[in-house]
Symmetry: C2
């Protein structure tokens, strides 16, 4: 059975975590049908690379995605982590400027970009949503700019923990699916500095490290103060 899937549905679709949905099929206005079956990427698998053509946008069903940019000498900046429900992969022109990789095993649903923007009848609603998503992304990136440009290591790590807590739903236990190296490249630090700042936050009683990848936030007020 062919179902016409709109961006609204893509945007509104909240996956049932852990359970696999019945496969949906997409039929675009250009009559090219493709399977909308969730695609699975294993840990560290590349979803797309820099300079690749930007044909699809994606929504995270489960797992985590990092988007990153690499300098010739290996320095790396992570632009964002995408969590379940997040949409990513919109580009202003034909070619990617960031790559995207799965941080852990990740399920995505993909939509063909061309088919979305050429649908005249619904383009208003489509575009409005895309615009909203993109503006939110821009705002997030601008906040990140302030973080990296003007805050010290302790403030960055505290802000990161609070941000992760806010996105995960649980208010005091934060799961960190990504290694220290990824956090460092997201915050413009080294992995050693991230580790040291976590140790420091633990020392002052703001957090507790249940394991390397699981942090308990003990003192939200103090953390918020430290994050400025």
């Amino acid at each position: 059975m062919l179902t016409q899937i709109t961006l609204s549905q893509l945007s509104g679709f909240q996956p049932a975590l852990g359970r696999s949905e019945a496969p949906a099929r997409l039929r675009t206005s250009t009559n090219k049908a493709f399977a909308g079956i969730p695609i699975t990427f294993s840990r560290n698998a590349e979803i797309y690379g820099e300079e690749e053509s930007a044909n699809y946008i994606y929504k995270v069903l489960s797992g985590v995605v990092r988007s990153c940019k690499l300098l010739p000498d290996g320095r790396r900046q992570i632009g964002a982590f995408y969590m379940p429900g997040d949409i990513f992969g919109l580009e202003p022109d034909e070619v990617r400027h960031f790559s995207a990789e799965a941080v852990i095993q990740t399920e995505l649903i993909a939509l063909e970009w061309e088919s979305l923007i050429t649908v005249d009848e619904h383009s208003g609603a489509f575009l409005s949503e895309l615009l909203q998503i993109t503006m939110k992304g821009l705002r997030r990136t601008q906040a990140q700019l302030l973080l990296i440009g003007r805050k010290n290591a302790r403030e960055r790590v505290a802000a990161f923990l609070l941000d992760m807590a806010g996105r995960s739903g649980h208010k005091d236990i934060v799961e960190l699916p990504m290694p220290r190296h990824d956090i460092a490249d997201y915050l413009g630090l080294t992995l050693e500095t991230v580790s040291r700042m976590l140790a420091e936050l633990r020392a002052i009683g703001a957090i507790e490290l249940e394991s390397a990848r699981r942090v308990r936030l003990l003192d939200l007020a103090q953390l918020t103060e430290l994050a400025r």
Copy 2:
């Protein structure tokens, strides 16, 4: 005479630098007419502040605008400089998250945001342009993130000069309308470091400082190499 002005015209309108155009009047589909006469802001005048409601989007006719975010203790991050032809002021929700100020005397044209997005008939074209503009801004901000997060002072200043050169049209003479402090807050540095890096670039023969606000790029290849 009332003229229906579309975003396309706003976007496509290239001001004749230095000359003042005949006043245009805007009439929106909601029948609220407002003057589209270019508004002039003097040096350091605030165009809008953080937390203000986001009612208008702007296009720079002449001058330069900086958008910035301030921390409680006075640290500042400049998110972007807007030059003639640039459009700014789009926000994902009702309230501003960055302020905007004129760097030098600046002429702007303003369009009421609500009237643009509620025009159903042309919303497709409008939104498509807004989306394009926003995605370009996002890309620019992401590039800035890499710059600030992973490049050293010399690389940042070299990249800034090349960026300014690229935007100004002149390939080897760069006018810097903004003070060192603004450049520093844009690059996540201090004004002293910016000054030192310029001195360093001059010392190695990559640039020449005709005055503090006017730089001649002597060796594009070397600068590009230094910017990575």
